[in-house]
Every structure is written in C-alpha cells, then in structure tokens.
Symmetry: C2
Subunit: 200 residues, 2 copies
Amino acid sequence: MDGYVAGPDQSPENPLGVGGERLHEWMVVTREFQSQHGQSGGEHTADSEIAARMGSGVGAHVMGRKMFGGGDGPWDTTWRGWWGDEPPFHAPVFVLSHHERAPLEMAGGTTFHFVTGGVEAALARAKEAAGDANVQVAGGASTVNQYLAAGLLDELFLHVAPVVLGGGERLFVGVGDPTLTPVEVVGSPTVTHVRYRIGR
Amino acid sequence: MDGYVAGPDQSPENPLGVGGERLHEWMVVTREFQSQHGQSGGEHTADSEIAARMGSGVGAHVMGRKMFGGGDGPWDTTWRGWWGDEPPFHAPVFVLSHHERAPLEMAGGTTFHFVTGGVEAALARAKEAAGDANVQVAGGASTVNQYLAAGLLDELFLHVAPVVLGGGERLFVGVGDPTLTPVEVVGSPTVTHVRYRIGR
C-alpha cells in the first residue's frame, strides 16, 4: 500500500525486511507457487491464475545482486542464492553485480550469470538467451527502478498487497515520469493485480 | 503510483503541487463530476459510475486546513475555499484548524465549520451532522493519515492513477499497521479504483 516492496531492517536472516514476507503471502499459499517450488501443498485461490502466470513465457530473468544475495562485496563463492539446489527459475538468470564471478549452474535448468556491465548489458544478454520468449526483471526495488528510469521495460505487473510496511525499499523512486497505462486489473480478497503497459 | 496524493512545490497558485492535477484527471473529465460542479460538459467514461458515487450518501465531510486553503496561520476571513460561491459538497464540511473561525455558510447547502479540537472532535461533530448518512474524510494526505493512525476510518477508497509524481505529500505515512481488506476493485484504462474495509 505504501510503496515498499521490502520492509525495514533487511538482513541475511530476513532478506525481505520486517514484514516483507506479508507482501508475498497471497502467492506463497497457492498450489501453483508450491508446485513451482517443488512442493505439493498449497491451495487453489482467487490468485492462483496470476501465480501460475508469473514465470510462464519467460526465457530469461534479470535480478539485482541484493535479491540474489551473498553480501555486496566480492563474491563468497559458496553462496548459491536463496533458493536451494533447484531454484524455481528453470532458465538463465542474469544477476547485476559489481564483481566478476563464473556462471553458476544449478539443477533444473537455472544458471546464474553475473553481469558487471550494468542494466543495459544484462538486458542484452538476457534477450539473447530468451530468444522469442520474454525477459522478466524479477527485482528487487532498486533494479526495477533502474530499468524503469532507463525506459527499458515494456510492462510492469504490480501486485498491491493490503499491507503498510512503514519503511524499507520503495518502488518508483528516481524513475522520472514514465507513461503507464493499466491494461489488466484482477482483484481478489487478498491482493490487487494491475498490469501496466509502459510507453516510450 | 508512488503514493503521493499531491505533487511537490504546493503553493496558493498550485494547491495540488506540480503534476498533482493529473491524479484527478480521470474524475474531472466525467460528465458526473462536471454536473456536481455546476457544469454541463464532460464525457461518459468507464470511471463515470465511480465519480457519481464520490459524494453520494455522504451527510458530512471532514477536511484538513490545507485542503480548505487560506494559509496555515490565523484566518484571513476573506478566504472562502477554492470552490467558489457554491462548493460541490452540498452538506456540512468540518475543517480541521488550529485557529477559531465562525462558520461560513455558502450557497447550495455547504457550510464550512472550523474545528480546533482535533480529528476526534471533528469526526464527532460530522457524525452528529450526518445522522444516518456517511461521513467522508476528503483529504488531504495528512488528514487521511491522521484518521488512519487513529483507527477512525471504516473504509478507504483508493484511486490509483498511473502517474509518478516523484515528491509531494504521501498517503500511509505514520499510520501504523492498519488491517485493510480489498472489497471492491474497478479497473479502467486511466485509473484503478480499490475500496478497502478497515479492521480494528
């Protein structure tokens, strides 16, 4: 509600910050999310269809160093991401970083590539890897804001959870004045999904 | 999009701040809004039904001193609000103020009352005036935030315009952790309307 996509006091033990996990609850409880993460539980909810679409049609992902984790200095190469041996991406993931690191091949089709050339370079590599499929910028806030500011996104899919975090990392900071047009709205009792097309 | 309900650099000449009027454009273009403001123009749009509902069933309004205008010091009693001789409220309006002022009766059923006792006192007077009808807290941001923080609102009707203002006055600042449940979502090509029920 208040624009924060992660709560205050982020730490290795609490990467989404205080209260940040509440933003994702609508998704985590779905059977579709559980299945994408190799689990068999979960419920069929009003948000299931949206959860099922999250990674579909995506040929490559881009994420920030903080979302991948492992500190912000030179790499501790024992760090292999937050997602265990088989991350839920099943596609190449291009991680923005200030430090070189060899690609990291995981089970299930996910390979993390570390890109030091900035957002345009990471996007170019992701586009090449994705071919005709889409590239998804996964997050976090700072990464999405950089892509918005650079005018490099075609769409933004926003999921407004009815949660006030009161601090943390905000979306839409330093992004200029993008032209956004809502093209799809799906409401549920737990979250409001709005897909925007972004003009140039 | 970025939580600002008024833009930066608010002034008597530009009370909504730079870009702030873009937030209300969806409403101002409707025939329903124009008619409420004594004009005959406007269009029938996907947002018309929402615009028509804005003031309906409302027996009294509450607003902040800044929304009413006229500076923030002792009253210049020549100031009669931004809305001309016949304001669009057609009901008593209770204006939060630090300075006493006699009630101001306008044409068309609007009387401005100036309340120095704070948000609870203003609400009590508005409730009494409204009888069985609703009390609407009109704004601005600081007033809505104070009512949210005090747990005095039953509903919040949010209209998310696809506009990034980059500065100004933000909603949901200092409001604690209210329990919000989306109960109605209406999407249009220009704005997303979400009505929330607020728990205690």
